[in-house]
Each structure stands twice: as structure tokens, then as C-alpha cells.
Amino acid sequence: MKPFPIATALSAIGLFAAHWLAFDFVPMERTMGAVQRIFYFHVPSAWLCYLGFLMCFVGSVGYLWTRRSRWDLFALASAEVGLIFGFIVLITGPLWARPAWGAWWRWEPRLVSMALMVLIFCAYWVLRSYGGSGEGVKRFAAILGVFGAPNIVFVHLAVRKWRGTHPDQVVSRSNSDMRIALYSVLAILLVVFVLLVVQRYRIHKNAFRVRALRRRLSRMGAM
């Protein structure tokens, strides 16, 4: 039995379960109503986005030190998947904020640092997609991956000087069903996250091999 299709199938079922948990299992939040349910996807996605970029940081450091392409591919795959979850956060956030705060966007530490982080890793992705695939570009990207993470800390600190209004307490003051739902969805999304990273890693590795083989083939043809 191949483990990969099974994991994929399980995570697909898991995603249905996640929707059931968020939209049916948990009771209606009293003050915010139905719109609060978006948080079961918003919050885990934010955590996973941070995780992706942290993994990119680790992969970048690993690449700079060892120069093994597996670290570089790990960083790239992590950044890509982190970016996807970042987009989920940036889409679900305003959907909630509009009815709850009356505004799509606020200048608030967590919002700005998330947006900036997504911007930095968009730049990372653009660099990887259009900057070429040479060894120098990998080093360039690794520096970006390493500089990106501490930068977020500075952005966060900077914006905190203007005071924030992020709803910290939504889950902690809520009942245990809500907590169960939140962490279950997190676990399911984590599986999806890992699956996607593994898949992207394998795709890049294969693309890599195909390029190398094609080069070898063209050299043999030239002889």
C-alpha cells in the first residue's frame, strides 16, 4: 500500500470533518454570531502560516550551512505552503472584521505583521519563480528566508507602538466545545499542511531531476 494516496484521502475526509466541526458541532457564539465560525479556519491557518515561514527560516539556515539542496527544497516547499495559508488568513480576516469591527482592515500589530510576512514570502516566491534556478539564486533566497523571520518581530514591535484591538480572548473565554473544535481543525489542517509540503518537495525534486536528465540527454545527443 502506498502511504501517500491514503494520507491524501484521509485529509480530504478530514477537511469535511473540519467543516462539520466549525459549522455544526460548535454552538453559536453569543455576541458575534455565525461570523465567529470563520475563526476555526482563520486562527489555525495563521499558526500554520507562521510555521511554514519558520520552517523556511530553518531550511534557509540549513542550506547556507550545508549547501545540500534538500534544505533548499525544504525551505521552498515550506514557504509555498506557508504562503497559501497566509492568503487564507488575509482573506478570512477581513471577512470577519467587516461585520465585527465595521472595517475591512485595521492598523494593528498582528494584521500588519501577517500582511508583511505574506509580502516578504511573495517576494521569495517571485524570486524563486522568475529569478532563475542557479545556485546563486538559492543563496539569495536563503538570505531572504533568514532575514524574513526576525523582520516580522520588528514589524510587530513597530505596530504595537500604536496599540491594537485584536480579539485575543475569543477562544480562551469560550466553552470547551469551541476549544475542541479549534484544536481538531488545527490538527486536520496540520495534516493537510504536512501533506502539501511533502508533495511540493517531491514535485520540486522531480522537476530538478528532469532538468538534470534533459541536460544529460542533450549532451549525449551533441556528441
Binding site: V126, L127, G131, I143, L144, V146, F147, L157, K161
Partner: protein
């Protein structure tokens, strides 16, 4: 034969860059010209009543610093890459962190010259009197320019390896210097009295902390970056 010490390498590299620049004036002229053009863009785009002008000035100042600075770091490394001299620089026994520091200071010097031109001109065009707070604004911009050089220089070194380096560099550098931009615009706003908040010194310290963190980080990483 002994390899020269850290600070003499910094000096030698900095002197080389300044001499190169004084001879061709290519980078400085393009940066200054771009700064001038930006001044007019901001003036035509934003000039309004005196109160609004005062609010617009910090943003215009810091945007000018970022835009002209990007031009500067990109050019200095295009020159290193032109005939492949950077490889010889890396191969020499000179301390690589010292080489990077020399190049950072060269970029900083360029930004200072350009800002000395652009800041008074912008203030003049937007008719804001900055003489009373000139010292603190100058300090903020100086530290900001250092922050930009500290992040931009190592990335510009790496950019010579990439395709479309001139386009990619700003895309990559701007998000990374956002903390400096935020702190700079807020700090200058406070200095001019248009932004309410704690004293402007808090923001000065913030930029200084950024400079130290990324400066030390960059110097530390540079050794790891430059070889294949």
C-alpha cells in the same frame, strides 16, 4: 605577508568605492536626479494647505530615502559584477565581513549625499519649516539610511546572481525595510508635531536596534553567502 586588519579592510574597500564613484559619478548622479524627480512628484501629487503638507512630509522624505537607496545599492553591485571583480574580492584574504561593512558604509555615504540634497528641497517645496527639528530628523534619516544599507547591501550582493536583478531587488528589499519605514515616518511625524505619540527618541532607538540586529546578522552571514 600578512592579511590586513578588519578596519583597514573596511577603509580600503570604502575608499575604493568612493574613489570609483567620484570618478564616474554615475550612481550618485542617477540617485540625485531620481531624488529630484521624486521631489517634484511628491510636490505635485500632495501639495495642499500647510497643515496637510506637514503631514505629508514624513512619508515623502522616507519614500525618497527608500527609492533612491535602492537605486544606489543596485548600482554599486552592478559595478562589482561588471567584470567579475567581486570574485577577486571574495578570494582575497581580506575579512569578508569587513568587505561587506566597507560596502555598506559606501552605500550609506551615497544616501547621505542624496538626502542632504533632497530633504531641504522637499521641505521647501512643501513649505514646511523643519529648522527647529532638523537635528532629530537628520538623526532619524541617518539611522534609517544605515538600516537600508545594512539590509540592502547583502541582498544586492546576492542579486547579481539572479535574472532580472534590477527589478527583483526592490521587490525583495522594500518589505524587509518596512520596520524602518514605519518607525521613520512615525518618528519624523512626532518630531514635526503632526503625529501624537511618545517622544521621537523611542523611534530613534527602534531604528538603531534594527540597524544593530540586521547589521550584525548580515556581517555574520556574509561569510556563508559569498562562496558557491
Amino acid at each position: 605577508m600578512n592579511a590586513p586588519g578588519f578596519f583597514s579592510v573596511v577603509g580600503v574597500v570604502l575608499a575604493k568605492d568612493l574613489r570609483t564613484e567620484l570618478r564616474s559619478k554615475q550612481t550618485l548622479m542617477t540617485m540625485a536626479m531620481f531624488g529630484l524627480v521624486l521631489t517634484f512628484v511628491f510636490a505635485f501629487g500632495f501639495v495642499a494647505d500647510p497643515a496637510t503638507n506637514k503631514k505629508v512630509l514624513p512619508g515623502a522624505l522616507w519614500a525618497s530615502l527608500l527609492f533612491t537607496g535602492t537605486l544606489g545599492v543596485g548600482r554599486t553591485f552592478a559595478r562589482e559584477a561588471e567584470l567579475g571583480a567581486f570574485a577577486a574580492l571574495v578570494l582575497s584574504p581580506a575579512d569578508r565581513a569587513a568587505v561587506l561593512l566597507g560596502k555598506m558604509l559606501g552605500n550609506l555615504a551615497m544616501s547621505i549625499v542624496v538626502m542632504v540634497l533632497v530633504v531641504p528641497l522637499l521641505a521647501l517645496m512643501l513649505r514646511v519649516d523643519i529648522t527647529a527639528t532638523a537635528a532629530i530628523i537628520a538623526l532619524q534619516l541617518l539611522l534609517g539610511a544605515l538600516g537600508f544599507a545594512v539590509v540592502g547591501t547583502p541582498l544586492a550582493v546576492m542579486a547579481v546572481n539572479a535574472r532580472f536583478a534590477e527589478v527583483l531587488l526592490p521587490i525583495v528589499v522594500f518589505p524587509l525595510v518596512t520596520p524602518v519605514l514605519i518607525a521613520g515616518v512615525k518618528g519624523t511625524g512626532i518630531a514635526l508635531g503632526t503625529t501624537i505619540g511618545e517622544d521621537a527618541w523611542g523611534w530613534v532607538q527602534f531604528i538603531a536596534a534594527f540597524d544593530v540586529a540586521f547589521g550584525v546578522g548580515g556581517l555574520f552571514l556574509f561569510e556563508r553567502m559569498v562562496t558557491e
